[in-house]
Subunit: 128 residues, 2 copies
DNA sequence: TTATTATGTAAGAAAACCTCACACGTAGTT
DNA sequence: AACTACGTGTGAGGTTTTCTTACATAATAA
């Protein structure tokens, strides 16, 4: 549908995203570094995030809080590439060993996080 | 409804608004100076606009393009005050003379504007 | 002509953001 | 215990963006 372009429109600077997702700039840049999000850039090289980006950041946060590490999140959410075709192609689902590792980690979920501003998926219903 | 708080949430820096509404920073600040919009501010005094603010800016732009001047726009849209009660109280509708002036101006609509990124009201359906 | 209106533009300062780079706590490994 | 890897904190130094203030200008109104 056409709302995809709206949801993928680069609108928010990192400061706004920090507040909306309750993440530090360091965290957000780190996730980008790992290819999980690929915010657009202004002419002056400032990051501009879309609603989709923010949704993804919330999912990342969620998974991290559940004990999943970067590698696991990459397998689950895929990289920030917009190429859907490639995304499908490169989806050999989790391997046995990967799955075991993930389950092992989720098993021992640590509860060291608390004040969430937004939960994953919330942004889907954020506007209108 | 509850989406009011979402639509009035301060999210966008002036740069983003400039692009969305196709207005210069000067214009936006000028309209604020006249009390037509009242964007929130960051701790560091940067303006943060809400979706409602942007909608209003688009309406202002629209009216200006139709030849209505600031005074007229103030009467039509009211100031940026969130006080709805006051807004209703101070609505003696347009006076005869005001109306005549406005109509006269709208009559001779000048067509010196062209590349609109968004039209007034568009943002209402912008998300989701 | 002169005043007003809406906008352009420039200067100087401050906030926000950028990219490194290094530090640190925790957890797992040797 | 010592070492390593991971996710994040923090600081330095630099660039971009935004801020206020002030003056200029084209078009309209008086």
């Amino acid at each position: 549908m056409g709302s995809d372009i709206r949801r993928s429109m680069p609108l928010f600077p990192i400061g706004t995203v920090m507040q909306l997702a309750d993440l530090t700039a360091r965290q957000i840049r780190y996730y980008e570094e790992h290819g999980l999000v690929s915010p657009a850039r202004t002419e002056g090289n400032r990051r501009l995030f879309s609603l989709n980006d923010i949704d993804k950041l919330l999912e990342i946060k969620d998974l991290l809080e559940q004990g999943v590490n970067m590698a696991g999140i990459k397998r689950i959410l895929g990289d920030g590439t917009k190429d859907e075709a490639e995304k499908r192609a490169k989806k050999p689902d989790l391997s046995e060993s990967d799955l075991k590792k993930l389950l092992k980690q989720e098993m021992m979920g640590n509860g060291k996080y608390s004040k969430n501003n937004l939960r994953a998926g919330d942004l889907s219903r954020f506007f209108r």
